[in-house]
Structures are given as structure tokens and as C-alpha cells.
């Protein structure tokens, strides 16, 4: 019982480490993508302008309006969990560790941008589907 409890605590700690790193990888990859004009119009994000982390839920709702692409649902779910986790970090660390709170805010804005990139991909996918329907 004791051994299982130790394994559980260590596993959960390492799970969090791997999960945060995995999500940071996705967010970092998302940051490298430029939004298309259509996505900028839909989201109201202008070129060179940052996205607030608070925009995440609004962008996610927009994403949900478009038909799913093959693999983004699982990843968006992970980013959503990451965004919520960062919200907890920001609240807990805000008063005592401002640097960690600032990092969490920065990452949350990355999550919002990731949602905008996912929306962009879904808009492009929907366009392709419509075009193939029209051609058929």
C-alpha cells in the first residue's frame, strides 16, 4: 500500500512534467504558424498584435462551430486542460511568485493563439470540403 502510494505520487509528478512539456511543444509549434486573412477576420486578431489568454474560450467556441479535422480534437482537449492548469498556476502563484504567474499568462496567450491556428486549419478544411462538394 505504502509502495503503491509512493509510486502514485512520483508518477503524477512526472506526468505533470511530461504533460506540461508536451503542451509547451504544441504551443511553441503553433506560435510559428502565421494566421490566414480569413482566420484574422473571424477572430479579430490583427497582424503583429498579441492574443490575450482570456480569449481562449471565445476562440475555442469558434473552433467548435467548424467541422472537425482528423486529429485536432484530442490535441485541443489537451491544450484546454493545459490552459485550465495554467489558470490554477496563475491564481496560486500570483501573490507569491510573480515570475511564475507572468510565465503562466504568457503560456495562456500561446494557448489562445493555438486555438486561433486550429480555427484557421478548420476553416481551410471546410473550404476544401465545400469545393470538393461543388466540383462533384
Amino acid at each position: 500500500m505504502m509502495f503503491a502510494a509512493i509510486i502514485f505520487v512520483i508518477s503524477m509528478y512526472l506526468f505533470l512534467q511530461f504533460f506540461v512539456s508536451y503542451c509547451r511543444l504544441q504551443v511553441a509549434a503553433g506560435r510559428r504558424v502565421d494566421l490566414s486573412e480569413a482566420a484574422r477576420e473571424a477572430t479579430g486578431i490583427h497582424e503583429g498584435q498579441g492574443v490575450s489568454g482570456e480569449e481562449f474560450l471565445r476562440l475555442r467556441r469558434l473552433v467548435e462551430l467548424c467541422p472537425e479535422t482528423e486529429t485536432d480534437t484530442y490535441k485541443l482537449g489537451a491544450i484546454r486542460a493545459y490552459h485550465a492548469f495554467l489558470g490554477v498556476v496563475r491564481i496560486l502563484c500570483g501573490p507569491v511568485m510573480p515570475a511564475a504567474a507572468a510565465w503562466a499568462s504568457n503560456e495562456r496567450s500561446g494557448c489562445a493563439y493555438y486555438a486561433a491556428v486550429a480555427l484557421d486549419a478548420r476553416i481551410a478544411n471546410t473550404r476544401r470540403m465545400l469545393e470538393s462538394d461543388l466540383l462533384a
Binding site: 503503491a4 505533470l16 512539456s21 508536451y22 509547451r24 486529429t71 490535441k75 511564475a100 504568457n106
Partner: protein
């Protein structure tokens, strides 16, 4: 009794496992990621085997339980080889493959000896509680190996996005399974860890690897310094 959601997760897992192997073959990457592909093949066989045992003997039969846990333990050992395959990718430029091979053989021998001793000592009571403990320990060893590998990735400043993503997905898989089995060991009757978490966690690795191989090109690069969980900007 299995519901539609169980069947959906099952079919999805199987499709993803086959996808990884077929995609690697079609892109001539099967040999490059040999151990990963062999594990995915084993996992696909396991999925089919589970389906056969449930259909033939039933979900609550002893035959299914034994197949489920013991084949899973064998697959975990097979997954160790995938971890060592990733070690070889990470240490590729250092030409340390012979050391990695030696370490993997030592670990495999060690695991075999310890497992044999445990099984011999417990052969009068090879119950499902025993296999849960065995699985918990095997996953935990895998987790430690993956964590060491992740440390090497960070230390050597590995930049290949594909390798980084494969390692992280493996870390999530091992840690989630290890935590699930530990929780199950502590609370054997908890429904969440008996029926809900294992299939979800089981789908994660084929999904993450399929996404990585499909979406991330071999030449994609990323600075690892941006990824450390403890790194604050």
C-alpha cells in the same frame, strides 16, 4: 458488458496502431523507427486478441483476464525496446549505440530475472492483484527510463521535434499507466481506474505517435530550452 463508447475506443486504437505501421512502411521509415513499429504491431495483435477472448470467453472470464494482464506485461517489456530505440536516436551523433545495446540487454536480463523470481515466489497465488502489482512495477521502471531519456534530451539540447514529441508522448503514457495501476493497487474497487482510465490511456500512445509521424517532418527542429516544464521566461 461493453458499450458503444468502448467499441469506439477499441476500433480507434486499432486503426491508429495499424496507421502508424502502414504509414511508416509507405514512407520507408519502418526500419528507422523499428522498435516503435514492432511495439505498434504487438499492440494491434493485442487489441485483436482482447476482442477474440471477450467474444469467446466473456469479459469477466479468467482466460480474458490472464490474457489481458500477461500480454500487457510482455508488451511493456517490448516498449522498453522502443525506449532504447529512442535512446539510440538521441545518442546517434555520439556513436554510443553499443553502450545503449549493452544497457538494454542488461535491463532486459534484470527484468527477466526479477520477474522470474517474483513469479516463482508467488506461483501459488498468481491472482489479478499480483498482476496489477507486476504491471505497476513494470510501468514504473519504464517511466524512470523515459525520464532519464528526457533528461538526456534536455542536456544534449536535442532539437529534432519528432524525437522530442515521441519521447514526451511515451513519458505521458508510462506515467499515466503507472499512476493508474498504483491507484488500482490502493483502491481495487474504484470504477474509474478499472474501466474508464485504462482504455483512454491506451489510446493516447498510438494517437500521439500517429500524429507525430504524420504531421511532423523528419527535418523539423525546435529549441528544447523552450520546453522544460520548470523553465520560466
Amino acid at each position: 458488458m461493453l458499450g458503444p463508447l468502448d467499441y469506439f475506443i477499441w476500433i480507434l486504437s486499432f486503426a491508429l496502431e495499424v496507421f502508424v505501421v502502414v504509414y511508416s512502411l509507405s514512407r520507408r521509415q519502418f526500419a528507422r523507427y523499428l522498435t516503435l513499429n514492432l511495439y505498434m504491431l504487438g499492440l494491434a495483435m493485442y487489441t485483436v486478441g482482447c476482442f477474440y477472448f471477450i467474444n469467446t470467453y466473456g469479459l469477466s472470464s479468467l482466460a480474458y483476464r490472464y490474457f489481458y494482464y500477461y500480454f500487457d506485461s510482455l508488451l511493456t517489456v517490448l516498449l522498453y525496446f522502443s525506449v532504447f530505440g529512442l535512446y539510440q536516436h538521441v545518442f546517434e551523433e555520439m556513436h554510443a549505440s553499443k553502450y545503449v545495446r549493452a544497457a538494454s540487454l542488461m535491463l532486459l536480463s534484470g527484468t527477466a530475472i526479477v520477474s522470474f523470481l517474483i513469479v516463482r515466489q508467488s506461483q501459488d497465488h498468481l491472482t489479478s492483484r499480483f498482476v496489477v502489482q507486476l504491471s505497476q512495477n513494470l510501468y514504473f521502471v519504464g517511466l524512470v527510463l523515459t525520464y532519464v531519456l528526457w533528461g538526456a534530451v534536455m542536456k544534449l539540447r536535442e532539437t529534432r521535434t519528432r524525437v522530442i514529441q515521441l519521447v514526451l508522448a511515451l513519458g505521458i503514457h508510462f506515467s499515466a499507466y503507472s499512476a493508474t495501476y498504483a491507484l488500482r493497487n490502493m483502491f481495487p474497487d474504484l470504477v474509474l481506474v478499472r474501466t474508464v482510465l485504462p482504455p483512454l490511456v491506451g489510446t493516447w500512445l498510438p494517437f500521439a505517435w500517429a500524429c507525430t509521424l504524420w504531421r511532423i517532418p523528419e527535418e523539423a527542429r525546435l529549441a528544447t530550452a523552450r520546453l522544460a516544464a520548470t523553465h520560466a521566461r
